[in-house]
């Protein structure tokens, strides 16, 4: 087929995309499989750019980090179960709570959502891959290497130990002389590269890679959530990367950014950290809320109530989220006017959040709920979100925050928010999309058990933390005296945390059992409305045999909803099979705009990721020569990557010499 094309230079630069059908088993479909499938064995494993493969890797890696962070938490809960325990030394405790925070916040909560979005976006949008498949692979490799980097000093007992927000001057050289903080600082800059390129990929994918007809008001809410998070990330991540880089300069080169004696300001660290930190909080919850907004309606047997309101409130939350960072610094001695403003802004956030909550409740209320496992997780999420949100509004009140600052009340709040809005939707999402990922159903009985054990364990574990905080127990203490009156709440919390862990364990058992022995899944086992369910389970390498034409928000429910002007066309569409190809559409209306040539599998992302990680290792170990060499290797990899190619039509085709003049 390629030979036919090469004979005509006109077809190389522009052509009318062929419309047709390509049923499974047809020559066209077989040709597509050959084009898109990765090589078998380790070659394919290292070089693949398939968004589904990368998405699953993100999910699995992030989940492993969740388990590691969970084990760290359980060890801390053993230490705190009773007063005056000596299981851990104070330094060990410091490293554990720091690594627990770093792991959960940076290595689990966003990457796991990137996993969902990487896997699902092209399927939901009716495309064959993300906008930048190789960048996608790079983003995963750097995430993996940064995770390993951050954990590298853990076995040596030199892990980051100044808390996940790492305040100076405690994190400065004067009080923290070991490599602990340098590992954290460099690891975070490295991880920031992964987050940034991943975010850029999502943004461009949304604007360019939707199926024809999928105008901006027809994309699933998960897409809105991840888009909002990604836009926020490209604005916010530079702040934290810079903060960590300046800290590293202070520690290793001798600059004075945070050095009080020479005019530096520790508050600069807090500003830079939280200007990033608060938008990040929304970046790790908005896509998860998107999971619920998309999946909950399937189990309520009706479309989401208030699609536009939820989409707009998603963006409004993030916009406001950039103006609330000082609520993390209420007790830092800032002017009262600033406190009032940021306190008020923090309370305003409850408005868009409430819009989303009421739309979920209305969806359940007006629908006919089917009470299976994913539904339970999503409904449980709504409850936990309300509790976490409520304690958030409480701490947005400046006087109350003065009282509660640095107590277990804050710990309770942030765990209700992060587990409630991230972990519950994620587990529910895995139950929901498991059939799509692996072609099998998860066990329903075990599923319900896992939900109830997790839900009860979670509330048993974290609700008493509110009380511990109100009783004055500060966070981050490695033990406490018996007469403080904190013994009972801590015991209950520890018991609850182990019950919660048991729930996760049931989920894991279910996961592996279902992977082996689950019932085979049809393409659309839940009778869901969105495009990913139009593909076989699991989807083939090319996703869609033909690029569909989309006519409504719920392409698979059109027969009963009758909401669009016409009918989506899923069987007949653009064939696009002269090499790896997909369609690029206009940003808002999704009109066909360009035939995009997609890159083949490539080792370059792996090597670029590896060289970057090694360059950072060189910085950590003070090997300037090695670092320079690796930086050079990175540049060479980038040149290989960016070199204009004929097969991607980045260069003029060969036959230009004889036909070129005629084209003016």
């Amino acid at each position: 087929m390629t030979d036919v094309v090469q004979s005509s230079p006109d077809l190389k630069l522009s052509r009318i995309p062929e419309v047709g059908t390509s049923p499974i088993g047809s020559t066209a479909e077989i040709r597509l499989s050959e084009l898109w499938e990765s090589a078998p064995g380790w070659r394919g494993w290292l070089s693949t750019v398939d968004h589904k493969e990368i998405g699953l890797r993100y999910l699995v890696t992030a989940f492993i980090f969740l388990l590691m962070g969970g084990v760290e938490a359980l060890i801390m809960r053993l230490q705190l179960a009773r007063p005056d325990q000596t299981l851990l030394t104070p330094e060990q405790y410091n490293q554990l709570f720091t690594m627990h925070g770093v792991t959960m916040i940076f290595l689990y909560s966003l990457p796991v959502l990137s996993g969902f979005s990487n896997y699902l976006w092209p399927l939901m949008l009716g495309s064959r891959d993300m906008a930048f498949p190789r960048l996608n692979a790079l983003s995963y490799w750097i995430f993996l290497f940064a995770g390993i980097f951050l954990y590298a000093s853990f076995p040596l007992g030199e892990a980051p130990n100044a808390g996940w927000f790492n305040y100076v001057p405690f994190a400065g050289l004067e009080y923290n002389t070991g490599p602990n903080i340098d590992v954290y600082a460099l690891g975070m800059v490295l991880l920031g590269i992964s987050t940034t390129v991943g975010a850029i990929n999502f943004i461009v994918t949304l604007f360019r890679m939707r199926a024809p007809g999928m105008s901006i008001d027809r994309v699933p809410i998960l897409v809105w959530g991840t888009l909002t998070a990604s836009v926020a990330n490209i604005f916010a991540v530079p702040s934290v990367s810079l903060a960590f880089f300046l800290l590293w300069l202070d520690r290793q080169i001798g600059t004075h950014f945070f050095d009080v004696v020479n005019g530096g300001k520790p508050l600069l660290w807090q500003h830079l950290f939280w200007m990033f930190g608060h938008p990040w909080v929304y970046a790790v919850v908005l896509p998860a809320m998107g999971i619920v907004s998309d999946a909950l309606p399937t189990f309520c047997r009706r479309p989401l109530v208030g699609y536009s309101a939820v989409a707009l409130s998603t963006m409004a939350t993030m916009l406001l989220g950039f103006g609330v960072w000082i609520h993390h610094m209420f007790a830092a001695g800032l002017p009262t006017l600033a406190l009032s403003f940021f306190g008020a802004a923090s309370m305003v956030i409850s408005i868009p959040s409430a819009v989303a909550v009421f739309s979920w409740i209305a969806t359940i209320w007006l629908g006919r709920p089917v009470f299976n496992t994913p539904f339970l997780f999503f409904a449980g999420f709504v409850i936990l979100f309300v509790i976490g949100g409520l304690s958030g509004v409480m701490t947005a009140a400046v006087p109350l925050d003065f009282q509660l600052n640095e107590t277990y009340f804050i710990v309770a709040h942030l765990h209700y928010v992060l587990l409630g809005i991230n972990v519950f939707p994620v587990i529910g999402g895995i139950y929901y999309w498991f059939p799509k990922f692996f072609g099998r159903m998860m066990n329903e009985t075990l599923g319900k058990w896992s939900f109830w054990v997790m839900f009860i364990g979670f509330n048993l574990g974290f609700f008493p933390m509110h009380l511990a905080g109100l009783l004055g127990m500060p966070r981050r203490i490695y033990t406490y005296a018996p007469h403080m009156g904190w013994s009972t709440v801590n015991m209950v919390t520890s018991v609850g945390s182990f019950v919660f862990a048991a729930g996760i364990l049931i989920f894991l058992v279910n996961f592996f059992m279902s992977l082996k022995r689950g019932a085979f899944a049809s393409p659309n086992p839940w009778d869901a409305p969105t495009l990913e369910w139009a593909t076989p389970s699991p989807p083939p390498a090319y996703n869609f045999a033909v690029i569909p034409f989309v006519a409504s928000r719920h392409p698979l429910w059109e027969d009963r909803l009758d909401e669009g002007a016409g009918r989506s066309s899923l069987e007949q569409g653009y064939l696009l099979m002269e090499g790896r190809e997909t369609i690029g559409t206009t940003p808002l209306d999704a009109k066909p705009d360009i035939i995009l040539k997609m890159p083949d599998d490539s080792y370059t992302p792996f090597f670029l990721g590896l060289f970057s990680a090694l360059a950072f290792t060189g910085l950590l170990l003070h090997w300037p020569g090695f670092t320079l060499l690796m930086a050079l290797a990175c540049s060479l990899s980038l040149m290989v990557w960016m070199w204009p190619r004929k097969d991607l039509v980045q260069r003029v085709p060969d036959s230009k010499q004889d036909k070129g003049a005629a084209h003016g």
């Binding site: 630069l13 810079l242 204009p644 260069r651």
Partner: protein
């Protein structure tokens, strides 16, 4: 079939100018790098506003060489733009010459900036101002060097005949990045060299 979708129009194939993925990607990259400079300058003003030291330590900065340098950098942006225009008009030798000139002007900027660094009486560890000055201009210098490598590659690719008036997305994309590097210098220049005259 959705009636809104026209299926009979010829569409460009591959990396076509501003419709290419790369152009969109670099726009997003510029947003995030622009933010990085925003945070750098925020740090500068935040610390400057609270300092009790001499700011800058050597008194008001001399504007002559930095001013000349600014003009050089902006001129090089103009030549990158001209190089792209020449490709569109099929004047490949002029495009090549224009890109070469842009590159040379960029190199001049680097040389003059290195000279500026060498005549400072302090380095980045001497005082807070030095830390800020060398970190901010250092970040910019790094971007100029990356930009110069890009210009050099574009020069090579144009010379190799990779592009013609129908397909030259790399020049558009690489050029956009260079314009960004030059634009951001205006902010750095204004903050570090001009604002000290205001107080």
């Amino acid at each position: 079939m959705a009636e809104a979708t026209q299926t009979d129009q010829a569409l460009p194939v591959g990396s076509e100018g501003k419709r290419s993925g790369g152009w969109w990607g670099v726009v997003a990259l510029i947003v995030t790098e622009g933010s990085l400079f925003g945070y750098l300058l925020f740090s500068y003003f935040y610390l400057a506003s609270q300092t009790e030291q001499h700011w800058p330590p050597e008194g008001l900065p001399n504007l002559l060489m930095p001013g000349v340098n600014t003009v050089l950098l902006l001129t090089s942006s103009v030549f990158v733009w001209a190089s792209e225009r020449c490709i569109q008009r099929k004047q490949m030798p002029w495009s090549l010459a224009s890109m070469a000139l842009a590159f040379i002007l960029g190199v001049c900027f680097v040389v003059i900036q290195l000279h500026e660094w060498s005549i400072k009486t302090y380095d980045m560890t001497t005082n807070l101002y030095g830390s800020l000055y060398f970190t901010i201009t250092g970040f910019h210098m790094l971007h100029v060097i990356v930009g110069l490598i890009i210009l050099l590659l574009l020069l090579l690719w144009i010379a190799l005949g990779y592009f013609d008036d129908r397909r030259y997305a790399a020049v558009t994309i690489g050029g956009l990045y260079w314009h960004f590097v030059d634009m951001v210098w205006l902010f750095v220049f204004t903050s570090l060299y001009l604002t000290p005259y205001l107080y």
